[in-house]
């Protein structure tokens, strides 16, 4: 195909570097383009408009737009740098050409690459005084004013260079210079201001409460492939702006007529963009069809490029002054009161060869004889739709402006302004003026005064377009919108099955009418019935056209009475990976580690996630599986001595004269009477009466307690204390400080633990008489480290907890390991800890309880005060909660002495037939904890069972791996029920 690339004499080619050629392949065929091209513009320049066929109907389609509005030309793009994944689906009009690019056309369905995406993505969070979205003339004028005032100003634009619509123009002049040069210069000047940031290739995709705007910047895809360590490919900007100015422009609407989807039918503004920005002539025999004056600039440009159109088909009854002047100057034939009603094409690609033209009667019905015009390109303009997305996402009002034939912003968003084409201002001079005013106003609102702005700007916000007097400044002239263009051979729009409304979804006027015929009146229903406007082009070319045709069909006065569907973020598609940002792999979420972590890792620990913490689960020796390792660890703790890193337990220091009183309300038990120097176990309930945390609290001094919480509950409990204190009982003298991480804590457990402690704490009298159960002591360890040692036990064994300053944790652990070596001291993990406590019938909150368990249910009525009004107490006397036959914590023993019941296994009565196919099988409860026990020599468990305490001794059954296992219900305390081991 011959090149349609024009020389400098015929096109300014603002966006391309004619001296820098890139090679690329499309569907395996080699092509070339210029630096600055998109894949689409390179193909237009190559004279090849067809792209992949349509999604469902397989119709030939071509490039129709020049930007994010493109519905047809969708690409799969191979990785642009090593280690990247392929692009699933991108509009060819947005893919910047780089040398060596490989791409293929898609048929509406994307293709996900299984290769892991090694590209980097990141996020940034910034604050600004003024944010301007869109670097077209209005946006540049606004940003330049704001930046000059000293206000922190950001200017975002999706294109590689500033200028917006100016990049598509030709011969436009601003301040006596070429408009594109003006745009560059103005932005460059602003960039000399310290507080100005211009972000090209950055699309504002979402606008949220309090001027929080999310934008996506493409950082490297336009660069040659290269290793760029640490450099993100795309960056998501989170911008909090005091003032926002939206200058997002407008999109052109196509016309809907029979066979309106052929390759060669293109938006007029796109034709102009390819011509002036990319120096690419999209066709040679060009017909222009319009409802407004915007196309007359294209006519001029085409004429100047030496390619004047064959004709312009204009729906309006007669030439406007602008149209008349251009037609006269260019000699192009104008056909007024007329419309393109159909198209012809040929070849496999179906490229346009001709269009048919009819006159219109007063009711927009095509009449009279047909005229056929040969054409390889039809440039269409059905009007313009302001890009109101970001405004609308903030619930900013929009209204139909019948003069502009467009939905425009009608009600402002607080601290936001809309300017330029987005506000329905087609006129360049007015866009520049209103843009500059908006910039000044925004800066002033932030306390900055622009130089040369002698008086504060007046503060008109978004104007009411319907109340806006004479519209002499409208560059696009009057519009004769056409929503239903008759087909030559079918009177009934319900049969117009080649009038495509949504190209990407292959939906036509006939489809939309079918929805109406089915009873649908709401545009939301029609959208859902047809799927119009739901594709990745977000209905940019179809949404308003659908509203227009519905308004016509339903006899609504104008499209505003039908209304639009809701505009939803994102404005343009955003890759999942960009939104994930750096939250992948080890940065996905913090892994909290203790001071002793490295020792655990070095000693082969297998870790368990507990909340965000990494806790050793067990320490397998060579050849050991988990079961063997855990049995060994448990045996060590019961037979000699074991030690565990329990630094993750939550710890809260509480001080104040009312601490006891507060704790009496927070815990179900009484803590105000706890002796100084002692600790006590406590349960916390929600107001609903259910257990939500537990732990031992020490009384360090009269007015000072140290509370411990579960590992997962630490933050919640601190918040809980603060909430009750701050919001309910501020009169209490208490203060809380989290000291979870101030301390490293090591549990030393087992009959030999006293000897180990005596070796590491030589100054301490560790005898049972001097240092009883639930007591604690301050001392200095043998290595000089100060420590607090407590006698608490979560295993029934003689046990100590050694607390030292966090950063001495590892040294202390190693000291204990050394001191315990003669006793073969054994590190153990959470799994062994769980076994040891379960043997003693001690619960793990969150495992044996599930938010529906009261202290009484758990058999812990002993921990519940009968006098204090603790939180949750009232709930315990509700009818259902007070029942005596609720689920109770019991022990379970598989009768065969061998079967390990799965945790979570259900229990049913011994006589209950297991016939779920005949209806629900009544369940008695479930196994909450289950382990093999070295001490018991058999598997055992804990369970929550209806009326369990009154069933002890009963044998029930549990379905395990397809068979039924007899299970004896027992006391939850399986081991040493007399508590003989606690004191060694």
């Amino acid at each position: 195909m011959t090149s349609r690339r024009l020389g400098i004499d015929r096109s300014p080619g603002y966006g391309v570097d004619r001296d820098a050629e890139h090679s690329f392949t499309l569907d395996g065929e080699a092509h070339t383009g210029l630096s600055g091209d998109t894949v689409a513009s390179a193909m237009v320049a190559a004279g090849e408009l067809p792209c992949g066929p349509s999604l469902y109907l397989g119709r030939a389609r071509g490039i129709m737009g020049a930007g994010v509005e493109e519905p047809n030309a969708l690409l799969h793009v191979e990785p642009r740098s090593p280690g990247h994944a392929a692009e699933s689906m991108l509009p060819a009009t947005t893919v910047e050409l780089v040398d060596g690019l490989r791409a293929s056309w898609l048929q509406g369905l994307g293709r996900l690459d299984e290769t892991p995406d090694g590209a980097l993505y990141d996020h940034t969070r910034v604050h600004t005084d003024v944010l301007v979205v869109g670097a077209g003339p209005a946006g540049i004028a606004a940003a330049s004013q704001a930046a000059a005032s000293g206000a922190r100003t950001m200017l975002l634009d999706e294109q590689p260079a500033p200028g917006g619509s100016l990049l598509s123009s030709r011969g436009e002049r601003i301040e006596s210079t070429d408009a594109v040069a003006w745009a560059r210069r103005t932005v460059d000047d602003a960039r000399t201001a310290a507080e100005f940031t211009y972000l090209p290739r950055t699309t504002a995709v979402g606008s949220y409460d309090a001027n929080y705007v999310v934008a996506v910047e493409n950082r490297t895809d336009h660069l040659p492939a290269s290793e760029r360590p640490g450099v993100s490919r795309q960056r998501v900007w989170h911008i909090r702006a005091a003032e926002v100015i939206l200058a997002a422009g407008a999109h052109e609407r196509p016309l809907m007529f029979a066979d309106d989807d052929r390759p060669g039918i293109m938006l007029a503004e796109a034709v102009r963009t390819y011509l002036n920005r990319y120096a690419a002539l999209a066709g040679e025999q060009i017909v222009v069809a319009t409802t407004n004056d915007s196309v007359y600039s294209l006519l001029e440009d085409l004429a100047e490029a030496g390619a004047p159109p064959v004709a312009v088909v204009d729906s309006r009854p007669e030439a406007t002054p602008r149209a008349a002047a251009v037609l006269e100057a260019t000699g192009v034939r104008g056909i007024f009161d007329a419309v393109v009603t159909g198209s012809d094409g040929d070849g496999d690609a179906g490229r346009l060869t001709a269009v048919t033209v009819h006159r219109l009667d007063r009711d927009d019905v095509p009449v009279g004889s047909v005229e056929t015009l040969s054409a390889d390109l039809l440039a269409v303009s059905g009007g313009h739709s302001p890009v109101v997305h970001l405004h609308s996402q903030r619930q900013g009002g929009i209204a139909w402006d019948d003069v502009l034939a467009a939905f425009v912003p009608s009600a402002p968003v607080a601290r936001q302004q809309t300017v330029g084409a987005m506000a329905g201002t087609w006129s360049l001079s007015r866009a520049l003026r209103t843009g500059a005013e908006a910039g000044r106003r925004a800066a002033e609102a932030c306390g900055f005064r622009a130089e040369g702005a002698d008086s504060p700007s007046d503060s008109p916000q978004t104007r009411d377009p319907l109340a806006d007097g004479p519209r002499a400044d409208l560059d696009y002239g009057p519009v004769r919108a056409l929503w239903l263009i008759g087909a030559p051979d079918a009177q009934d729009p319900a049969e117009w099955s080649t009038h495509f409304v949504d190209m990407q979804r292959d939906q036509t006027v006939a489809d939309a009418l079918r929805a109406v015929g089915a009873g649908m009146r709401s545009v939301e229903h029609v959208k859902r019935y047809t799927s119009i406007s739901t594709a990745n082009d977000q209905g940019r070319t179809s949404a308003v056209n659908t509203v227009g045709l519905l308004a016509t069909v339903l006899g609504a006065g104008h499209p505003g009475q039908v209304g639009t569907t809701t505009y939803r973020a994102p404005y343009t598609p955003v890759p999942f990976a960009a939104l994930a940002g750096r939250r992948r792999g080890e940065l996905f979420e913090p892994a909290r580690i203790t001071n002793i972590h490295s020792w655990h890792a070095d000693h082969g620990a297998v870790f368990e996630d507990v909340g965000q913490w990494k806790r050793p689960r067990y320490y397998p020796r060579t050849g050991e599986d988990m079961e063997t390792a855990v049995l060994r660890e448990c045996a060590a703790a019961r037979g000699s001595v074991g030690f565990q890193d329990v630094s993750t337990l939550g710890k809260i220091e509480i001080r104040g004269t009312d601490t006891g009183r507060l704790l009496d309300r927070i815990y179900t038990g009484v803590f105000s009477k706890l002796r100084v120097g002692r600790g006590r176990y406590g349960l916390m309930c929600t107001p609903d009466g259910m257990i939500f945390d537990d732990g031992v609290t020490l009384r360090i001094a009269d007015d000072r307690y140290l509370m411990t919480t579960t590992t997962g509950g630490a933050a919640t409990v601190l918040d809980w204390l603060e909430e009750w204190h701050q919001t309910e009982w501020p009169e209490l003298d208490v203060a809380f400080t989290s000291v979870t991480e101030q301390w490293s804590t090591v549990a030393v457990v087992g009959p030999k633990s006293r000897e180990v402690i005596s070796r590491i704490a030589p100054e301490l009298d560790v005898s049972n008489e001097a240092f009883g159960f639930m007591a604690f002591r301050e001392t200095t360890l043998r290595n000089g480290v100060p420590a607090r040692i407590c006698r608490v036990s979560f295993s029934g064994e003689l046990a100590f907890e050694v607390n030292v300053a966090n950063f001495c944790g590892l040294a202390t652990w190693e000291l204990i390991a050394e001191a315990g070596a003669p006793f073969d001291i054994t590190p153990y993990g959470t799994e062994a800890m769980h076994v040891l406590r379960a043997e003693k019938g001690l619960i793990i909150v969150g495992q044996d309880t599930d938010g529906t368990v009261t202290p009484q249910d758990a058999g812990m009525g002993w921990a519940v005060s009968t006098t204090e009004d603790f939180i949750g107490r009232r709930s315990h006397s509700r009818p259902d909660t007070a029942r005596q036959d609720r689920k109770h914590l019991v022990g379970v023993l598989p009768a065969d002495g061998r079967t390990l019941l799965p945790e979570g296994a259900q229990l049913v009565g011994a006589q209950t037939p297991i016939t779920p196919e005949e209806g629900p099988v009544p369940m008695l409860g479930h196994v909450t904890s289950s382990y093999r026990s070295a001490a018991l020599g058999r598997p055992f468990g804990l369970a929550m069972v209806w009326d369990g305490r009154n069933r002890i001794g009963e044998v029930v059954r549990s379905p395990v791996d397809g068979r039924l296992v007899d299970v004896e219900l027992t006391s939850p305390v399986h081991f040493d029920p007399e508590g003989t081991r606690r004191d060694g």
Partner: protein, 218 residues
């Protein structure tokens, strides 16, 4: 002897060679991640700073007593434009809430500070002074690109107009709660809790990596 009387020496210094700071295992990576030059940024840990948590209201006797014991007044708070008092290289106090402060001495002179004595300053008064020297560590991010690195996840506005040298805030850095303290124009201290230090260092190093290469021209 009651526990009250034995309330510990735990805050006095343990033997130095037995201490291991929360980010010590990443020292090499931090060194390797340093970037010099006009886009430079460096990360190091300031280990073992003395840190005391103070719960007291500045205007109340307990607040005055705490300030006197520490030797630095309590900051009045963000509303008054004062979030740090004292010398960031010596004793200073960071505002956390109207009745919560973090007293810091970064030089690691733990042995020279009578932590126990300071803790006792509130005897007979409400409030709380707690040794928190192990609770958080201090990471110091320095250089012209330090702010950009932090902006990859910090929720407060780090522009000098909003957050000048001498300002501090409790906030989120990525998913991590941390105190951010700007001691000089391009020096930020980040105080995550000890267990988050490993993640925070990795997060910062990852954010610093791009500055070692050439700047992307926009």
């Amino acid at each position: 002897m009651t526990a009250d009387q034995t309330t510990a020496d735990q805050a006095s210094a343990p033997p130095a060679d037995l201490r291991r700071s929360p980010a010590a295992h990443l020292t090499e990576q931090m060194r390797a991640g340093d970037v010099d030059g006009p886009r430079g940024v460096r990360l190091r840990e300031i280990p073992f700073a003395v840190q005391l948590g103070i719960r007291a209201e500045p205007g109340a006797p307990s607040g005055r007593a705490a300030a006197e014991a520490w030797g630095v007044g309590l900051p009045a708070g963000p509303r008054a434009g004062e979030t740090v008092t004292g010398d960031p290289e010596g004793r200073h106090v960071i505002w956390i809430s109207p009745d919560e402060f973090l007293a810091v001495e970064p030089s690691g002179l733990a042995g020279l500070i009578d932590v126990r004595g300071i803790e006792g300053a509130l005897d007979g008064m409400p409030g709380q002074i707690v040794d928190l020297s192990g609770n958080r560590t201090i990471l110091e991010l320095t250089g012209p690109s330090a702010r950009s690195v932090l902006e990859k996840g910090c929720h407060v506005d780090l522009h000098p107009r909003a957050f000048p040298a001498g300002a501090a805030a409790s906030t989120l850095l990525g998913p991590v709660q941390a105190i951010v303290h700007r001691t000089r124009e391009d020096v930020f201290r980040i105080l995550p809790r000890a267990s988050f230090a490993d993640y925070t260092v990795r997060w910062l190093l990852d954010g610093m990596a791009e500055f070692a290469g050439e700047e992307l021209i926009r």
